[in-house]
Amino acid sequence: MSGKPNRDPRLDQAAVSDEGLLDIHERQLGRHPDDGARYRLLPIGILFTLSALILFSGTYLNRYTGHYNASIFDENAKPTAGGPAVAKLDPVAVGRSAYGGTCVTCHQPTGAGMPGIYPPLAGSEWVNGPSSRVIRIVLYGLKGDIHVKGQAFNAAAMPVFGKVTGSAYNWSDEKIAAVLTYVRQEWGNKADPVSADEVAAARNATGDRREMSEAELEQIK
């Protein structure tokens, strides 16, 4: 121990030289813990603490890392079974956005169309009728006249939307099914939803062709 107490704040006295410091610690390292057959608790305490921390770490890593998956951002996820809780697509929602992006320009947001130019969809017998016909209207487009609620419309052609020759849109079957489902339940229409399988079946049955006419459509059941 140092001779004088360190009471003067202007100078802290050293109690051991550098040589001494290195010596005593080197000797400390050379000692064995059970010198004199005394059992020291500290190494056991340290071992216990380290083991407990490693156990905690391992458990935490197993539980909260999402198996190191790059797509898991929520640490509570347990992706061992199932997958991302991706919901079923709500066809009405998809159909509404598809309608609002494309169809609304002609058929109007109210589904009323334009008298003499674009046929209405609200209350239309084509929309509410057999799905096989309206599917083909969207898939292949129309040529010539079409009569809706007693009125004739022929001034503008219905474009080709399906994945067929001459289509500028190439909508998938799911998208066509969605927009038809939407239209068939909107503005007072009450008809069954259309599934993507039906659209695919219609496309396969009719094959690849250009626009259909009203007469051809009426042949289809």
Binding site: D74, G82, A87, L89
Partner: protein, 278 residues
């Protein structure tokens, strides 16, 4: 510590391990993250920022806005981010791939800005933001140096870009306050911040057991593909091609962004907060 070489090798190895693990590991996972193509919309998300928005991000960083604002929405259940209308879902890595300098921030003296352009109940418009920048508030300093005071000619009307200020902030007669290009770039940037598109990985995970069958009602309304496997190109190949979500029923909500606070905060919080590791 007798051998110098072993000592320095040990130091270097330690640094290398943490660098390889965290930096290289995350680079391997996220380095080639691609935008997500949505077939229904026919567009990829996220979308590029406009030029003035990219400049605005530099102004944001230059002024140090990150000192008070974060740009990261946390998952439902982790704080009140959803209830405050800051965003419906957790921010994910894909939200930032087209940002030259993502400003995640570390402090919320002010609100989170990740989804400012689509904030509920109402998003601010450029006039609101410019006014806020000029006047400051109880927690935010005024940024008067982002504006110039211009003298109006005799009998001239204020220009279109001039701020409409009232009360004590109103400039004297014959003067108008006009934002500088920096202010306009900053506002363009703030209005480009959106995280409203829901990527497949952004949706809360369905737990393996049925403990949280109702755990993801907030996911149902978003335009997300129904088949997880083909629609998740960036899911590091480990997403099992299991059946599409089974116990999740399509919600009647139809809007692109679900507005109602869902029960998910309590459900997802439960497994987390009662776990032994807390």
């Amino acid at each position: 510590m007798k051998s110098n070489l072993i000592f320095f090798i040990g130091l270097f190895a330690a640094l290398g391990i943490s660098w390889a693990g965290i930096v290289l590991g995350s680079n391997a996972q996220l380095g080639s993250l691609a935008p997500f193509y949505d077939e229904t919309d026919g567009a990829t998300y996220p979308q590029w920022m406009s030029g003035s928005a990219a400049q605005g991000q530099l102004v944001y960083r230059d002024l140090g806005c990150y000192a008070c604002h974060t740009q990261q929405v946390r998952r439902p259940g982790f704080g009140s981010d959803q209830q405050r209308g800051w965003g419906d879902r957790q921010s994910v890595a894909r939200d930032y791939i087209y940002q030259p300098a993502p400003q995640l921030g570390w402090s919320r003296v002010g609100p989170d800005l990740a989804n400012l352009a689509d904030r509920k109940p109402s998003a601010p418009d450029s006039e609101d933001l410019l006014r806020m920048l000029y006047s400051g508030s109880a927690g935010m300093p005024p940024y008067r140096f982002l504006f110039v005071e211009r003298r109006l000619g005799a009998g001239a009307q204020p220009s279109q870009a001039a701020l409409k200020l009232t009360g004590s902030l109103e400039p004297k007669a014959g003067l108008e306050i006009v934002p500088t290009p920096r202010a306009e770039a900053l506002v363009a940037y703030l209005l480009s911040l959106t995280t409203s598109y829901t990527y497949p990985e952004a949706v809360p995970f369905k737990p393996a057991k049925s403990e949280g069958a109702a755990a993801a009602p907030s996911s149902t309304a978003a335009p997300v593909r129904a088949t997880p496997a083909p629609a998740a190109p960036a899911a590091a190949g480990t997403t099992p091609p299991a059946a599409p979500a089974t116990g999740v029923s399509p919600a009647p909500a139809s809007a692109k962004a679900a507005a109602a606070p869902t029960p998910s905060p309590t459900v997802t919080a439960t497994p987390g907060s009662t776990g032994g590791a807390k």
